[in-house]
């Protein structure tokens, strides 16, 4: 597929220059180069602050603020847990992200399956319920959840009197992850062949076993992608979390609260580590794919 695109482009390009030559062709080539250059510049731009973060994780700052380059050291990487409040914060962040991902992925996957698989009344309404959180500014979601949790009088539907902390953060994170999960999975299982389920049940498989043995493995890549997305969203969320966090500090909240008095290089160490792990998780499957033969690509195209 990609090879044929390249070939098509190449022939089209050579056709142009052969037919026209002169001004337009060199003008076209100039435009092409300009566009390529601006794309390359954009990629560099994307990585400038990232290089800085990685570099500053090796910095030896003299003050409490790791903002000015002072000298190279491995110390920060050797003692990533030097500041217990940062360790606690990243621990809470990971715990929230894990639980939020599990809950949001299950809820979102069920919604996606229902939306793709069945025709029913109210589908539009559910679609709207999923889209609107994505088009609502985070600050509004944070403020409204804060109001909900604030006071029993304002939240007659809330079954418990909330104390700000792990549970309120979890509730908020699941809320904003569900839409992303449901829509990601929905987009990826649109081409799924549901007659496979009928075939299984014709062969005598009970519905539960059909789901776990046939459906789930086939839609798994989509579910995993959505789970990864929701984990990343939860781990990085700041705007909504600040409203529902109380005295508990996730990693971004801890960094924000402390940023008036200190920014330790361990902050950059943890951030770099999170990025490295994410890259490995992302690149894992595609590295495997590089070594796979092209003929097997079609089989995985569904997921």
């Amino acid at each position: 597929m990609t090879a044929s695109i390249g070939a098509a482009n190449a022939t089209a390009g050579s056709g142009d220059s052969a037919r026209e030559g002169g001004v337009t062709s060199s003008g076209g080539r100039f435009m092409r180069r300009l566009v390529n250059f601006s794309a390359a510049a954009a990629l560099v731009y994307l990585f400038v602050p990232i290089f800085l973060i990685v570099a500053f994780s090796f910095n030896k700052p003299k003050s409490k603020f790791n903002f000015v380059w002072q000298g190279f050291t491995f110390d920060n990487w050797r003692h990533p847990g030097k500041y217990p409040e940062l360790v606690d914060a990243i621990g809470l962040s990971l715990k929230v992200a894990l639980f939020a991902t599990i809950i949001a992925t299950i809820l979102g996957a069920l919604m996606a399956i229902a939306l793709v698989r069945y025709r029913f009344r109210g589908g539009m309404l559910v679609g709207l319920l999923l889209i609107v959180p994505l088009t609502t500014p985070e600050i509004v979601m944070g403020a409204s959840l804060y109001t909900l949790f604030l006071d029993g009088k304002f939240s007659p539907f809330l079954p418990f009197h909330a104390t700000f902390g792990f549970s309120t953060i979890l509730v908020a994170h699941v809320m904003f992850c569900v839409s992303f999960v449901a829509l990601t999975i929905k987009a990826r299982i649109r081409g799924f062949d549901w007659t496979l389920e009928d075939a299984a049940s014709d062969l005598g498989s009970p519905p539960g076993r059909t789901f776990f043995r046939i459906t789930l493995p086939l839609i798994m890549p989509g579910i995993l992608a959505a789970a990864l997305l929701s984990f990343a969203l939860s781990l990085d969320d700041f705007l909504i979390t600040l409203f529902v966090t109380g005295d508990a500090n996730t990693f971004p909240i801890q960094v924000f609260q402390a940023s008036r008095t200190e920014v330790r290089p361990q902050v950059q160490v943890i951030s770099t580590a999170i990025m490295l792990v994410s890259v490995l998780l992302l690149a894992g499957p595609s590295i495997k794919k590089l070594f796979r033969r092209p003929s097997s690509r079609r089989a995985t195209a569904v997921g």
Partner: protein, 305 residues
């Protein structure tokens, strides 16, 4: 046998609702209901800092919000508008090149677009603060090359973007730059998807027809990529309008850079003036929704909303 068939039908009728109910319930309880409580709070009164708010159709919160924070409302949308524009200018060529010329490296290049955003949002913004620092090498270079003066020479916008001739930090330009950077992938990815979907034989046909790459782009590729531009602009504009991290760290939250997000955060969490803060957030949401609907209408795409 017949019984089993009935069973199956019944299951098919109820199955979607069964599958949908847990997720929908979560969204209703923790998204829809909170908006309702927010609206109630916006119309409540709270006579003192430590008093409990009471709901009494206190409409003056709304006019208070406009009267006291009009400039911040306006500024937030201004910043978001320019951030969206710049993200489009930077993101479109990138998405275009990856989609049409990426070849074997498409996935790798897409990965490169996403990877920077796995570092923590706040810390990326810190990094920009370091880059734009007043005594840093970047600002020294920019001053040496008179680039700040160049931007300031732009009519209407120049002095607004960079009020001071020798600094970038604490200016609207810094905030807009930070927003553009932090939201760039939300612009690139939808445009990439839209261009990727275009049937390449159409492009070849256009190249034959117009005998000119630029015309082919203008008449075929660009119109077909508009749904991506539309989605990308929304995904950039909406978070940009509500963000206050960039205004806080890069704009230093001063008179020319404070945005509505930091007002809401401050009124809620520091001043504890819940009704006013709720009124501001509610107005903000209404304005965003109206803007999105107008935008959707004028673009004529029904893919979203």
């Amino acid at each position: 046998m017949a019984e089993r068939g009935d069973d199956g039908k019944k299951r098919a009728r109820f199955a979607p609702y069964l599958l949908l109910s847990p997720g929908s319930l979560w969204l209703i309880l923790f998204f829809v209901v909170p908006l309702w409580t927010l609206a109630r709070m916006a119309l409540s009164s709270k006579p003192s800092r430590f008093a409990d708010p009471t709901f009494d159709w206190h409409w003056s919160n709304i006019s208070d919000a406009f009267n006291r924070f009009g400039p911040q409302f306006y500024r937030s949308f201004e910043f978001a508008f320019f951030a969206t524009l710049f993200a489009l200018a930077i993101g479109y060529p990138l998405a275009y090149v990856i989609a049409t010329r990426g070849g074997r490296f498409k996935n790798l290049l897409l990965g490169l677009v996403v990877v920077p955003f796995f570092t923590t949002y706040l810390i990326r913004t810190f990094a920009w603060k370091t880059i734009l620092a007043d005594d840093g090498p970047f600002v020294s270079f920019v001053r040496w090359a008179h680039l700040i003066d160049l931007v300031r020479a732009v009519p209407l916008l120049g002095h607004w973007l960079l009020p001071s001739p020798d600094r970038i930090l604490a200016t609207p330009a810094a905030v807009i730059g930070g927003l553009t950077y932090n939201l760039l992938p939300f612009m690139v990815l939808p445009i990439y998807v839209a261009i990727e979907k275009i049937d390449l034989s159409l492009v070849d046909a256009a190249k034959d027809l117009y005998n000119n790459g630029w015309q082919a782009f203008r008449k075929v590729i660009f119109p077909l990529s508009i749904p991506g531009v539309f989605a990308g602009s929304l995904l950039t504009f909406i978070p940009a309008a509500g963000d206050y991290v960039n205004a806080y760290y890069l704009g230093l939250n001063n008179r020319s850079t404070q945005v509505i997000g930091s007002v809401v955060q401050n009124q809620y969490l520091n001043q504890n003036d819940y009704p006013l803060a709720a009124a501001i957030s509610f107005i903000f949401m209404v304005i965003v929704t109206i803007a999105v609907l107008i935008y959707a209408r004028s673009f004529g795409t029904e893919d979203l909303v």
